[in-house]
């Protein structure tokens, strides 16, 4: 070693995990805890993928997380808390009392929507009197969908379909529809209530006109049953806690190491080759990466990729991307007059304009402003606060932006975003900006390599939502012993789904590894 010779990695593992994102880390922890010899290879110099943070001056900025809706409290744990408890993950969590503060400037709505079914319904009833009973019926339906999904997840093997149909008929009945089809055909909600309800859309990035009802219902039920949390020390704390735990459990995590090739022979995974030239044999490979990246760029030789795998990638629609303006302010949020953690801002949620997203990189009508100090007062030094202003774009809108125009474009846009935040919230920001960073789809692509700089995996429209993805998981395994976890995998986008996807895949792999060993020794 030394003098230009590249130090090497050990050449054999039971499982190689590509990517230390949320799914890769939980998969790694559960595999290592189960005794599998596991190596995680991460292209970046720190864990987490999108779940990270960065430092500018005296501020540490959150990169991605708005809220974890499937953590739950110790008394009422969600899937993520159960998984974290099992693999020994302890993080300081902060409870979020509200879902969001909705500001619709043209519709003249300005209201805080709390978590908890009853509190949420009460708040809605104040804004649109007379909708209580119908909302209760709606949330009952959402809870039934959530219960059905929980039942399926805990009975993956030997699923009793007749029982499912008997016990959760409405889950089955609504599974093939969009949010709007179910909500507007089966419930009598005044238009104004729909405007408020659909503001949730901001979290999933797929309009309710095409978003599948199942995943929507699950999210609503989760938010109100498990409530929402964030880590007190940004996402990097969760990611590093997972990474350190993985190492403590005997796993090996190597940073700054890109996987250049997934080695495949006869339709079956044999190992990986890294950008440093390490060749590592493994019985199983877990990709915390998109099928787009895996089939188009990693599987080697290329003739091992069946044509259907390309069709599989090309059929799918990429989720949205983001532009975020990160502000380190030399004034407290109290002084600014920002009391709430998250503001959903739009001119209007009126049907005709609700989902209009710009087809060019111009200012969209919807904006999310979050201020972590409202719930974590010491997230930055006394007398300062951290703001995040984010807008969404459809995948591909930033495709044509070249390096020559890039800086000027993002500055113009950030200028308009700050302006909109100031006007909608009645605050004055410009005189207090100590640090500013502007992240675009290009930034997101730079740090993760995600296709077109998107953040939300594949869109969960009806044909590509949880149920069809899960029902087809076996027939869509185009390379044997190659599994997917993370935001592009079977459970859909978002932190919680990614964490759980890693846990589910690891559980299956541990059983397979055990069977393989028994076959060898038996």
């Amino acid at each position: 070693m030394g003098n230009g010779k590249v130090p090497r990695l050990r050449p054999e593992y039971d499982v190689v995990v590509i990517g230390a994102g949320n799914g890769g880390l939980t998969a790694g922890c559960r595999l290592a805890a189960g005794g599998a010899k596991t190596l995680i290879l991460e292209q970046h110099n720190l864990p987490g993928g999108f779940a990270s943070s960065f430092v500018r001056g005296r501020f540490e900025f959150e990169t991605a997380l708005h809220a974890l809706a499937d953590l739950g409290s110790p008394d009422n744990p969600g899937s993520v808390r159960k998984l974290f408890d099992e693999i020994g993950i302890k993080v300081d969590w902060v409870f979020l009392p509200d879902v969001y503060h909705l500001v619709l400037t043209k519709d003249k709505v300005d209201a805080v929507l709390p978590t908890g079914v009853d509190a949420y319904i009460d708040a809605c009833d104040k804004l649109v009197p007379g909708c209580k009973a119908e909302l209760h019926r709606y949330f009952d339906l959402c809870q039934e969908v959530m219960d059905a999904l929980n039942y399926i997840e805990s009975h993956m093997e030997g699923l009793d379909k007749a029982y499912l149909l008997r016990r959760f008929p409405n889950f089955i009945r609504t599974a093939s529809y969009t949010v709007e089809e179910v909500t507007e055909k089966c419930f009598r909600f005044p238009e104004k209530l729909l405007d408020i309800l659909y503001a949730y859309w901001g979290y999933l990035g797929v309009p309710t006109t095409s978003l599948n009802f199942t995943i929507w219902a699950a999210m609503l039920a989760m938010y109100h049953d498990k409530k929402a949390y964030i880590p007190s020390d940004r996402s990097h704390d969760i990611s590093l806690t997972l990474a350190e735990r993985f190492t403590a459990l005997g796993g090996r995590l190597e940073y700054n190491t890109r996987v250049g090739k997934i080695l495949v022979k006869g339709g079956k995974v044999e190992g990986v080759e890294t950008g440093h030239g390490d060749v590592i044999r493994a019985r199983h490979v877990v990709a915390n990466a998109s099928p787009h990246a895996v089939y188009n760029a990693l599987v080697s030789p290329k003739c091992e990729v069946p044509e259907i795998a390309y069709r599989y990638c090309n059929a799918r629609e990429l989720g949205v991307s983001l532009v975020s303006v990160f502000l380190g302010m030399d004034v407290s949020c109290e002084e600014l007059g920002l009391r709430d953690y998250e503001y959903f801002i739009a001119n209007t949620m009126a049907r005709s304009e609700r989902y209009v997203l710009p087809t060019k990189p111009t200012l969209p009508q919807r904006l999310i402003v979050s201020c972590v100090n409202a719930v974590v007062p010491d997230a930055s030094p006394p007398g300062t606060c951290i703001l995040n202003l984010s807008v969404t774009y459809e995948a591909g809108v930033w495709d044509g932006v070249g390096q020559e125009e890039y800086v000027a474009l993002k500055q113009t846009l950030a200028d308009q975003i700050i302006d909109k935040a100031e006007k909608s919230l009645g605050v004055s920001l410009r005189e207090h900006i100590e640090e500013i960073e502007i992240a675009t789809p290009h930034t997101l692509a730079r740090y993760t390599g995600h296709c077109r700089g998107t953040v939300y995996g594949y869109k969960t429209s009806v044909w590509d939502s949880l149920i069809p993805r899960n029902l087809c998981i076996e027939e869509e395994q185009y390379v044997k012993n190659l599994e997917f976890v993370g935001g592009f995998s079977f459970r859909g986008m978002g932190y919680c789904s990614s964490y759980v996807s890693g846990g589910v895949v690891a559980k299956g792999l541990l059983a397979k590894l055990k069977a393989e060993k028994e076959a060898v020794h038996g």
């Binding site: 093939s176 529809y177 704390d237 940073y255 259907i308 599989y312 100590e434």
Partner: protein, 404 residues
């Protein structure tokens, strides 16, 4: 269980569920079978943020007795077709081979983004007597020399959404390089910004970019003012002398409370200016400083344990799946110890800020300069450190990443 929901019809709803899988199969079969390995966003990102740029020295200019400007062009024969654009004020992390080992050094780009678009970068380097890297650079770099560097990086640049329309730049010695780039860039972009440069030099022979600065002032006098301040003026010097004091700043730069301050220079200058700017009551928000690479002298850092600089420790390093022991001087950063051992560890800012060199401490004690501690909260909790701003206080054991 809630009351039965019927969306489109009792049968239709059930059929819809049953048909989810055939619907999905149909969508997939109908899609294009063409492999699309790349997309335009990632392609642009590779241009803007290349992992490595392969460059060639196309000309060398002697600026002062101790300073040279190297003009660099992309080297297509080794895979770099175009130069990445940058924000005036950013730097390149350049690989310098020293006795068969690669160390890296940071050099601010003294040229402008317009020039980069036209195919050249310029970096301006001052020779340090006995300097580990600069002695090689001055001895060996000439026209035709090939180099490797990072893409342009750093956060020391003018940002109109944050900074005032008046910019006061305080530069010392070679610290003029990013300031020169910034001033020329603002003029080239016709930005509505007034720039006042206070440039501290030893004497008139020490002035880098003398002609360029004079030309800026001559042709854009309405927007750019340059003041040279000599610390050891020769006879006949007519300008201000001494250090850049609060009084001098107030006198030369005018309305300081309407300005953003950009500061770049040697460590001693920052220490001195801390006191001077405090007198002017400039809010932190309006002051930016380029830490500008390597910390000069550890022993002068506030809180540095006396006597540590003369000790030598053993550093046990785990890198990939290999382990070795290397000596580490108490007066040098861990990054330098790793480089001296020929390990080519990752490095970028070399001043504790960016975290590119992030490594895990396993055993032992470190001194981290509080002024250069850019670590994340969780990193501190889990003993991740930035080797470029950490000094050994005992024998150490660490896990270090390979370079990407």
């Amino acid at each position: 269980m809630g009351k039965a929901i019927v969306v489109k019809g009792r049968i239709a709803d059930l059929l819809g569920f049953v048909r989810l899988v055939p619907l999905r199969r149909g969508k997939i079969r109908a899609a294009s079978p063409v492999s699309l390995p790349d997309d335009p966003v990632n392609a642009t990102v590779r241009l803007m943020h290349p992992r490595t740029m392969r460059l060639r020295v196309v000309s060398v200019k002697q600026e002062t007795e101790s300073t040279k400007t190297f003009t660099l062009a992309p080297d297509p024969s080794r895979g770099t077709e175009r130069l990445a654009t940058f924000r005036a004020g950013q730097y390149l992390n350049v690989k310098v081979p020293v006795d068969g080992r690669a160390v890296t050094r940071n050099y601010s780009l003294s040229s402008t983004p317009t020039e980069a678009a036209a195919g050249v970068y310029r970096i301006t380097i001052r020779r340090k007597k006995g300097g580990y890297a600069t002695e090689r650079i001055f001895g060996e770099w000439r026209e035709g020399t090939i180099l490797e560097s990072s893409g342009p990086v750093g956060t020391f640049f003018y940002e109109g959404l944050r900074d005032r329309r008046r910019l006061v730049a305080l530069a010392g010695g070679c610290g003029i390089t990013p300031i020169y780039s910034m001033a020329r860039d603002l003029v080239e972009r016709n930005a509505d910004v007034q720039v006042t440069i206070l440039y501290g030099v030893r004497d008139s022979r020490d002035v880098i970019f003398r002609d360029g600065l004079a030309e800026l002032e001559r042709s854009h006098g309405d927007r750019v003012k340059v003041h040279l301040i000599a610390s050891e003026p020769e006879a006949g010097w007519t300008g201000p002398t001494g250090f850049i004091t609060a009084e001098l700043i107030g006198r030369l730069a005018g309305a300081v409370h309407e300005a953003s301050f950009f500061i770049c220079g040697p460590q001693a200058m920052y220490t001195f200016l801390d006191g001077e700017l405090a007198k002017l009551k400039i809010p932190r928000r309006l002051m930016r400083r380029e830490l500008f690479g390597e910390i000069d002298e550890a022993a002068k850092l506030p809180g540095f344990p006396a006597g540590n600089a003369s000790r030598t420790y053993v550093l046990k390093v785990h890198i990939a799946d290999e382990t070795l022991e290397v000596p580490a001087s108490g007066g040098e950063t861990i990054l330098v110890a790793l480089e001296r051992a020929g390990l080519e560890p990752p490095s970028r800012c070399r001043s504790g800020e960016c975290g590119w060199c992030r490594a895990r401490l396993i055993k032992g004690d470190l001194f981290v300069s509080p002024m250069h501690d850019g670590r994340r909260i969780a990193d501190r909790k889990f003993q991740w450190v930035h080797p470029c701003s950490s000094y050994p206080l005992s024998d150490l054991e660490m896990r270090v990443n390979r370079s990407l």
